[in-house]
């Protein structure tokens, strides 16, 4: 018998990377993940400092998970998601402060607008490969910044828009921090839930195929451009909703707050990278690791060494790209497979 013809190892039982576990198992894991994520909220409900961090962690987790749909599953590294975030933010701010509309009402139309804009600007740029696509999306972000400053009668220009405090569920303005935290938790639970569904849906498989090899995907009958646009639209929609929530939490937005690449657009990608690009738990895990850490850095270092928090994040990005490409989740999965391999024995 030829050596290379040796018996292949017995088939593994439901490896963790397969999205094909029975619906029950996937649902179970999702609920477990959400329970784990919600625990800090329950235990730290009395502490306003931690509540703020927790709320932001959930929000950033949801935003990173939204990015992950097109960036992780689809493999299209957009650095321009700040644009969709900004659209959600500005539409909400203008509608509430100027026209007295309820953010709940405006949230979905704003997100639909973001999705349409996303498809419009992606359509010509999706033919660009990797880095050039990233540059183009980066440029979109810069253009959005300029436009937001320029059309100041509309956006308030550099002065931004402030939303007066008027508590009430209909206004999406809450008196208690923990209520905001719950709102953000619902958001991230929604987005992660959508990614769980997506991963097991036809669109999800198509996105993964496009990520792996576009030619191969085409040979399987996939309309690559259409799939990318759909992924981008969904991603932009959810990102814009995050923008709405952000606006109602801070009640102040201006162009730098929304469009500074390093703080916003790139941050979504960074969190996904650290946690695990293309995984379901990765973005949330990345947020849980980085948001409190960055908060700590900013608090400690901001006076003595401004910007150091971003410098350290930058360094983390370089190190993660070099040594931990699949993020914490990926490292964990690799470890699990090593253990299973040892158990299988030779």
């Amino acid at each position: 018998m030829n050596k290379t013809d040796r018996q292949s190892p017995p088939p593994q039982v439901a490896p963790e990377v397969s999205g094909l576990q029975s619906g029950g198992t996937a649902l179970g894991r999702y609920l477990a993940l959400m329970a784990l994520a919600g625990a800090p909220l329950v235990f730290l409900a009395k502490d306003p400092y931690w509540l703020n961090i927790i709320a932001f962690t959930y929000l950033m987790g949801g935003l990173a998970a939204s990015w992950n749909i097109i960036g992780g599953f689809g493999g299209q590294f957009s650095l321009g998601h700040g644009v969709f975030f900004g659209i959600g933010a500005y539409v909400t701010a203008i509608a509430t402060s100027r026209y007295g509309l309820s953010p709940w009402l405006v949230m979905v139309p704003a997100a639909v607008l973001a999705a349409l804009v996303a498809m419009l600007i992606s359509w010509p740029t999706f033919r660009l490969r990797g880095p050039f696509f990233a540059i183009a999306t980066m440029a979109f972000n810069e253009v959005a910044f300029v436009l937001a400053n320029h059309f100041d009668s509309f956006t308030g220009g550099p002065r931004g828009i402030m939303i007066p405090f008027k508590a009430g569920f209909a206004n999406m303005i809450f008196r208690e921090r923990w209520q905001y935290a719950v709102l953000m938790f619902v958001f991230v639970a929604l987005v992660v839930g959508i990614t769980v569904w997506l991963r097991r849906s036809r669109l999800g498989y198509y996105l993964l195929a496009v990520r792996e090899d576009e030619d191969s995907a085409r040979a399987s009958g996939i309309n690559v451009l259409s799939v990318k646009l759909q992924g981008m639209a969904l991603s932009a929609f959810l990102t814009a909703i995050g923008g709405t929530l952000f606006t109602m939490y801070l009640r102040f937005i201006d162009p730098p707050t929304l469009f500074t690449l390093q703080d916003v657009g790139v941050k979504f990608a960074l969190l996904s990278l650290i946690g695990g690009v293309g995984t379901i738990a990765g973005p949330l895990l990345g947020a849980a690791l980085i948001v409190p850490f960055e908060n700590f850095l900013r608090a400690e270092l901001a006076d003595a060494l401004p910007g150091m928090n971003l410098a350290i994040l930058g360094l983390l990005m370089v190190l993660a790209a070099l040594f931990m490409k699949r993020g914490v989740v990926g490292a964990f999965e690799d470890l699990l497979r090593k253990i299973k391999g040892k158990k299988g024995g030779q």
Binding site: N2, T4, D5, S8, P11, Q12, V13, A14, P15, V17, S18, G19, L20, R200, S201, R202, Y205, Y206, L208, A209, E212, D213, D215, S216, A217, R218, A219, S220, G221, I222, N223, V224, G278
Partner: protein, 246 residues
């Protein structure tokens, strides 16, 4: 005379003065097995790319079942019944073998459960049934090549284009692959157009052989005739070689 299933007339592809494919006319009839052979750089894969729509022809025409498809993008051609494998296999390494094949199965089966069943059936057909749940990245080369074929089969194609599907396989793996292809041809009635370097495979499996050299079609005939033609030998091995058919 029934029309050819897949046909090119005067197909050419020019790149900045270089004629990668030069005036190639070929007809593949339903149920045939046709091989394309030729030295490296002869333009075989480029020709394939013209057939599948990856590249647009500079001159000439590609037609499927008598209809010109020059303007049709690759995914539409896949929908019309053209399956294709690539020289360098690129499975979706993070997914299971089953999920890999499901991607192709979605073309005809919109529902998850149906696509999964279809994918399972195809995997069993190519002999990978036991590996369905294994991560594609963990498969051996021989298994990956069969997975690649499975992905093409999942489309339910009428004609399958194989690009050096045996490359890198050892003798017994090659034998098993030939058996699989034969059975797909005889039992499922699939038409094959294959690029091959391994002349033993060509002889074992093909009915007709065409030879490309520097983009031009220099010979066409049965496997017997082609493989003993001195012209072909010269193109492959250069002057002064003696071809000893084994």
């Amino acid at each position: 005379m029934s029309q050819a299933l897949l046909q090119t007339r005067g197909a050419s592809k020019h790149f900045m003065g270089l004629k990668a494919v030069d005036d190639v006319s070929l007809s593949v009839n339903k149920g045939e097995v046709v091989s394309i052979i030729g030295p490296n750089g002869a333009g075989k894969t480029t020709y394939f790319n013209l057939l599948t729509g990856q590249l647009a022809p500079t001159l000439g025409e590609v037609s499927l079942r008598g209809q010109t498809i020059n303007a049709l993008p690759p995914h539409e051609r896949a929908k019309l019944g053209m399956g294709r494998t690539f020289q360098i296999v690129k499975p979706l390494i993070a997914l299971s073998a089953l999920e890999n094949v499901m991607v192709g199965a979605f073309l005809q089966y919109a529902r998850m459960a149906d696509a999964r069943d279809r994918a399972m059936a195809v995997l069993t057909r190519v002999g990978l049934g036991a590996h369905a749940k294994r991560r594609a990245g963990d498969l051996t080369l021989s298994e990956r090549r069969r997975l690649e074929v499975a992905r093409a089969l999942a489309l339910g194609p009428e004609i399958v284009l194989l690009d050096e599907v045996m490359a890198g396989l050892n003798q017994s793996e090659t034998g098993r692959c030939i058996d699989l292809l034969r059975s797909l041809h005889e039992e499922d009635g699939l038409t094959f157009l294959i690029i091959e370097h391994n002349l033993k495979v060509v002889r074992a499996f093909s009915e007709r052989v065409i030879v490309l050299d520097r983009g031009r079609l220099i010979a066409e005939g049965t496997a017997e005739d082609i493989l003993s033609s001195p012209e072909v030998v010269k193109a492959y091995l250069g002057e002064g070689h003696q071809w000893t058919p084994s």
